[in-house]
């Protein structure tokens, strides 16, 4: 279809969710969807600044980054990746349930998604706690004595450079976790509204758009996991 003004006109009587400045529900839905996609682009650029810093410093201080990365727990990282991927599936199923008008399924999948999100955050909290205990939190208490193992050869690394890795680690995962918290809050509200019957096969745009947001947060983690956890693990 053309992206312009649609010709068919819905009335406020037949569609209570139709806002005054749209001609019909389809125009309103397409508008909201495009707005969400553009917002996701701003999110990509927002994280892009962090990715840029990461990329440059990783190239500059590869040994320190590898040594520091090896201090992260790959099991937790992989587990959290799996949790997020499963939650993406449940979001897809939630949107589908909304399309079908299956209210119970919709609420169920939304609740599962929130629980998976909270699981992710819980694991993140465990990891952060471990960083505190190992003095891997950047700041005055930071300490790093590990070396970079280059095929059996132990190369000492500058702790300042390892600290830089952890600064970026906390900045990137912290910013990601903030987005997860927002996503969990969003889905909780949507679950309540869905329970109250706000959504129908003719109107489920908020579910769909929140889903798009959740998938993007998932995609960011898909990149964060190998970049942060998997540097030079083979040595």
């Amino acid at each position: 279809m053309s992206d312009s003004h649609a010709t068919a006109v819905d009335t406020a009587e037949s569609h209570p969710q139709l806002r005054h400045h749209f001609a019909n529900m389809e125009q309103q839905k397409n508008t909201a969807s495009l707005g969400m996609w553009l917002f996701l682009v701003t999110e990509i650029m927002f994280f892009g600044g962090l990715f840029c810093a990461y990329l440059i410093y990783r190239l500059m201080h590869f040994n320190a980054f590898a040594a520091a990365s090896q201090q992260l727990d790959i099991k937790w990282g992989a587990f959290n990746t799996a949790v997020l991927l499963v939650s993406s599936v449940t979001v897809v199923l939630a949107v589908r349930a909304a399309q079908d008008g299956n209210r119970k399924q919709l609420v169920g999948y939304l609740v599962i998604t929130v629980l998976l999100g909270l699981t992710f955050l819980g694991v993140k909290a465990i990891e952060y706690k471990e960083k505190f205990e190992k003095h891997h939190v950047p700041g005055p208490t930071f300490a790093f004595t590990n070396t970079f193992d280059d095929n059996g050869k132990q190369i000492p690394v500058n702790p300042k450079e390892a600290e830089l890795f952890f600064s970026l680690y906390f900045a990137m995962t912290g910013m990601h976790a903030l987005h997860m918290i927002i996503g969990c809050g969003l889905f909780s509200v949507l679950a309540v509204l869905a329970w109250k019957g706000h959504y129908s096969p003719g109107y489920y745009t908020p579910i769909e758009n929140a889903g798009l947001y959740w998938h993007l947060v998932d995609i960011i983690w898909i990149y964060l996991f190998p970049l942060l956890y998997l540097i030079s693990r083979h040595s």
Binding site: D3, S4, H5, T7, V9, T11, A12, H20, H21, A23, Q27, N30, T31, L34, G35, L38, F39, V41, T42, E43, I44, M45, F46, F47, G48, G49, L50, C52, A53, I56, Y57, M60, H61, A64, P138, G139, N158, K160, E161, E163, L164, S167, L168, A171, M175
Partner: protein, 548 residues
Amino acid sequence: MATTVIPAQPISRPTNYLTNGFTLKSWLLTTDHKRIAILYLISVTLFFFLGGFFAMLIRLELLTPQGDLMHADSYNKVFTAHGMIMVFFFLIPVVPAILGNFLVPLMIGAKDLAFPRINLLSWYLYIVAGGIMIHVLLNGGVDTGWTLYSPFSTQFSNTNVIEAGIAIFIVGFSSIFTGLNFIVTVHRMRAPGLTWSRLPLFIWAQYATSLIMILGTPVIAITTVMLAVERLFHLGIFDPKLGGDPLLFQHLFWFYSHPAVYIMILPSMGVISELITCFSHKRVFGYKIVALSSIAIAVIGFLVWAHHMFVTGISLYAALIFSFITFFVGVPSAIKVFNWTATLYRGSISFATPMLYAFGFIGLFTIGGLTGLFLASLGVDVHVTDTYFVVSHFHYVMVGGVVMGYLGGMHFWWPKISGRMYPEGWAKLSALFVFVGFNLTFFPQFVLGYVGMPRRYWQYPPEFQVLNVLSTAGASVLAVGYLLPMVYFAWSLRYGPIAGPNPWNAAGLEWKTASPPPTFNFDETPVVTWEAYNYDEIEPKLEDGGIR
């Protein structure tokens, strides 16, 4: 539009957006894009005069070679305040948030922007950020320059850098929401028949601007976050002692802040396209290429940022690439200038005030743009980096370009906004003041910079005084030129002649509805069956006193 049946209004007088509610609440909680534009008009104007106040302090200090008005520290804070306010609170929002907000839905035949509540939110974000910025100023200001360069901003400055960063972060999101709204609106809300090739060039310019707002602003947002976090927790992201690289800050900063220059100038270019074609009473020359040149400027603008960093020690090879690409931005900009000029050819030109501003824009922007090419050349740039040559160059683009376009647009659409005509004689006089004052202020700065006066110093060798006095004198004339429109616009609200829907006999949907427009813009959704700027089908207006 198959009308949704609206019961006949009991009021006999036709209401417009201004008379639709008089309470403070009806303004502060409005979702009407036209009212939000007025809210922006008031707040942006306040910040313009605040930034102008700091500009006057700078010029007064530089009247004499000695630092006699203020200390070096205060001077740092004053030019920082001038830069931050003018860039983030005036130049970036001025045309999109005021004229764009008002005109985008009108020009495309929509009832409102796609997301009216987000539009209001973006104004509130602007106000919150502005409040924080004023709080920063009252608490002693910031002394880093508007560029906030690390390591000074992260390690050495004792001023409110973090708070200023928060203000920039928030006002950035205001700008992102405006851009997002415009893009979605242009895609989704156009009237039937209004194809992309029939869109006004102002819309194309707003669209290109919005692309930059969406793609660039998030990067400055995350950069200010990194800056604040580094300052707060003494991390080493930009600190070479801790493994970081201060140049990375500049890379990320200019990735946004160079395209931001096009956020400022593109909307004004859109205004000028409208003015030139209307007051030549002729379809714009090369519509398609002018439209696409806006997009080209937006895209190429993202590829040139490190030309701000030629002397910082970036790699010579990178500098060559950035220098080379910078020349390419000149191409679409020149296309616009040539097409505007070609539009004039055999046009039936009238010299109404908006057209005077358009002429001013073309001349001054050309000077600003060409000196930009000097600066894009590595060798010349090394010679004039951080001198008044650079200051003058970007003021020719920002003030000679953006502000000229803005004032031209305000005069052109004032009858639509207010329903009244401004006094033409006073307006012409003030346009003259602006043009003369501007050149007197900034042309001497080209010379000053070329002979070696560095920017951001509060005192200078006595041999530079004559040119500095000229510049300060020019700034005073310019100030009069800026204050006059305030007075006569306000005057015209009550005493100006009624404008009628289309005082200029202009093409474009915004002129086909009442002035001021009704709340939902059009009584019936218009159906567009004509090409843009079909001036050959519109009778020229002859009694406006213009020279033919």
